[in-house]
């Protein structure tokens, strides 16, 4: 009974996403621009015996897209739907309440997949990638990171009282993480003290572990990152559940 509404809402939400220039830019265009720009400048720089910068840069771009979807797109959508009263409208229909939330998560996962395919295709064509990891493990870790960042997004969307505050808060958190995690500028370029400080930025762990897994590292070597992401995921879920409202005021 709930499958059909989820299918229809998913289709409708994807269309809405495609009509949102801001989200489209950050999901599809911006990562490709970064890829071409940083790839041309640092692409061939060797990272190890076998890998070049471009190979590990995939992790940075994936992390950037996931962070943007989670920290900007989700809070804005949530606050917007609440402020406009769309959620109130859903409440006076028989659709189960969780359907809306499930659809939001599915849409953001789907948009990440589109973005990742595009990034990989362009990178492969232009720079020729080398992948030495396990596809399932890398995908699993990315999905886990998505869970954490999307949950943080729902928490921000719940804490923000209006669309404007959701947008400001989401963008602020996103840009701070983006620049301090090495998703924008590789952390290897940072001075030593800044590298130590930014070791504690959650998105750094997403970037570092993804790139390590990409180059064939075992996931078992990164339990500290997994624990950190799990803790953040749990905290974000608690806040999101606690602060979630169907109606403004």
């Amino acid at each position: 009974m709930v499958i059909k509404p989820i299918q229809r809402m998913f289709k409708a939400e994807i269309k809405l996403f495609l009509r949102e220039p801001f989200a489209m830019f950050f999901t599809l265009l911006f990562p490709v621009i970064l890829l071409l720009l940083f790839g041309s400048v640092y692409g061939d720089m060797p990272i190890s015996k076998e890998y070049r910068f471009i190979d590990t840069y995939m992790a940075s771009l994936f992390a950037m897209v996931i962070a943007n979807l989670g920290l900007v797109s989700i809070p804005i959508t949530l606050a917007d739907y609440r402020e406009r009263g769309v959620l109130k409208q859903y409440q006076v229909t028989p659709v189960p309440k969780f359907a809306f939330l499930v659809v939001q998560v599915l849409v953001q996962i789907f948009m990440f997949l589109i973005s990742a395919v595009l990034i990989l295709a362009v990178a492969e064509l232009v720079f020729d990638l080398k992948f030495g990891g396990n596809v399932l493990i890398v995908s699993g870790f990315l999905l886990f990171s998505m869970a954490m960042l999307y949950a943080v997004g729902f928490a921000i969307g719940g804490l923000a009282s209006t669309v404007r505050t959701a947008q400001t808060a989401g963008m602020a958190v996103f840009f701070v993480l983006f620049f301090t995690s090495g998703a924008a500028i590789p952390r290897g370029e940072f001075p030593k003290w800044l590298q130590v400080v930014t070791d504690y930025v959650p998105l750094s762990h997403v970037v570092d572990v993804t790139s390590a897994l990409w180059m064939g590292d075992a996931i078992g070597k990164h339990t500290d990152s997994l624990i950190l992401i799990t803790v953040l995921l749990v905290i974000a879920l608690v806040v999101a559940k606690w602060k979630f409202r169907w109606q403004s005021s």
């Binding site: 409708a12 809405l16 409440q91 028989p94």
Partner: protein
């Protein structure tokens, strides 16, 4: 609420079962206060199956709060609500299969096309009505590919009416369904509602148009300051208040409200903006009052008579001053 005592709970169930066979809505001692004011102060009413029930009252009287408590959107402080025998806060998914709701605000996504919205909302119901027919009945044919945000205010209102009717509801709760509609749209929406009533749908609505309430309402409930101030069949309410005719008399030095009240068959007297409004009923009310006034020196051109209507009763009971809205 579940009772520990099984015999008590079963008799309760039986009572509810028999009642909801005739009642579509049952609101009992509803009470809802916000931080700074009491919005709904002990309101009770019942809506019989198959009737058109109209809730009226000034802005800020508590209509929307009462309606949102009925819809389960707000939690009442005290009192209970039953829609088709069920508590709307506990049986949302079940109730709204059979209860169509039009909220007061037009709440849809501006960048969603009309047909996309309808596709989504249709999928929520186990037996949705084909929306093309409803679109046509609400005068929105040809608008399917328009963005919701590009529709006019009246079109948005009518699309929300379509959404309320999508699930073939047994009961509809409409908060100001005709506000912002032009006379053609109002006429057609009422034609549709009357048709739904003939097919057995129960219709609960709020409005500010007293002529609509008078013409279409089987039961009228007037609320002010969170309380019910009048309830019943519109014609009977007018009769109860002796409001058959309304005579408007220009102010004249010989007359005052006290004197006018002593005239036979006079129900209510009001002094408004330099004239008197005299309400009364009875077979020879008009000629009798005219001759009485003639004796007081009031000439025929200073007298205007017409049929009293629900708006007169409404203004008499709720006053003519603007309301402070909170």
């Amino acid at each position: 609420m579940q009772s520990v005592n099984t015999s008590a709970s079963s008799s309760e169930e039986n009572r509810e079962h028999t009642e909801w066979q005739e009642l579509a809505v049952e609101v009992q001692h509803l009470h809802k206060a916000y931080e700074d004011h009491v919005a709904v102060d002990d309101i009770s009413f019942t809506v019989k199956k198959g009737e058109i029930f109209v809730l009226v009252g000034p802005n800020g009287a508590g209509k929307t709060t009462a309606v949102e408590c009925m819809e389960g959107l707000r939690k009442p402080d005290r009192g209970s609500v039953r829609l088709l025998g069920m508590d709307p806060r506990n049986n949302r998914e079940k109730i709204f299969q059979h209860v169509g709701v039009q909220l007061q605000e037009n709440n849809l996504h501006p960048r969603q096309k009309v047909y996309e919205t309808l596709e989504v909302f249709s999928s929520f119901y186990s037996d949705p009505a084909p929306y093309s027919q409803l679109i046509e009945r609400c005068g929105l044919e040809g608008k399917e590919n328009d963005f919701y945000g590009k529709l006019s205010g009246g079109q948005k209102r009518r699309l929300l009416m379509v959404l309320a009717l999508l699930g073939r509801p047994k009961l509809v709760i409409l908060d100001e369904p005709t506000s912002g509609l032009d006379p053609q749209a109002r006429y057609n929406i009422w034609k549709l509602l009357e048709e739904l009533k003939r097919q057995g749908t129960t219709i609960f609505l709020t409005t500010h148009y007293m002529n609509e309430a008078e013409e279409h309402g089987d039961t009228l409930c007037m609320i002010d300051e969170g309380r019910v101030i009048a309830m019943g069949e519109p014609k009977k309410l007018l009769a109860e208040h002796q409001m058959g005719s309304c005579i408007k008399i220009a102010e004249c030095p010989n007359l005052d409200e006290k004197k006018l009240k002593t005239f036979p068959q006079v129900g209510q007297v009001e002094k408004v903006d330099g004239h008197f409004l005299l309400y009364g009923s009875g077979k020879d009310f008009l000629p009798m009052i005219t001759s009485k006034l003639g004796k007081e020196g009031v000439t025929a051109d200073q007298i205007e008579a017409r049929k009293a209507n629900l708006e007169d009763l409404y203004l008499l009971m709720t006053g003519r001053a603007y309301r402070k809205e909170t």
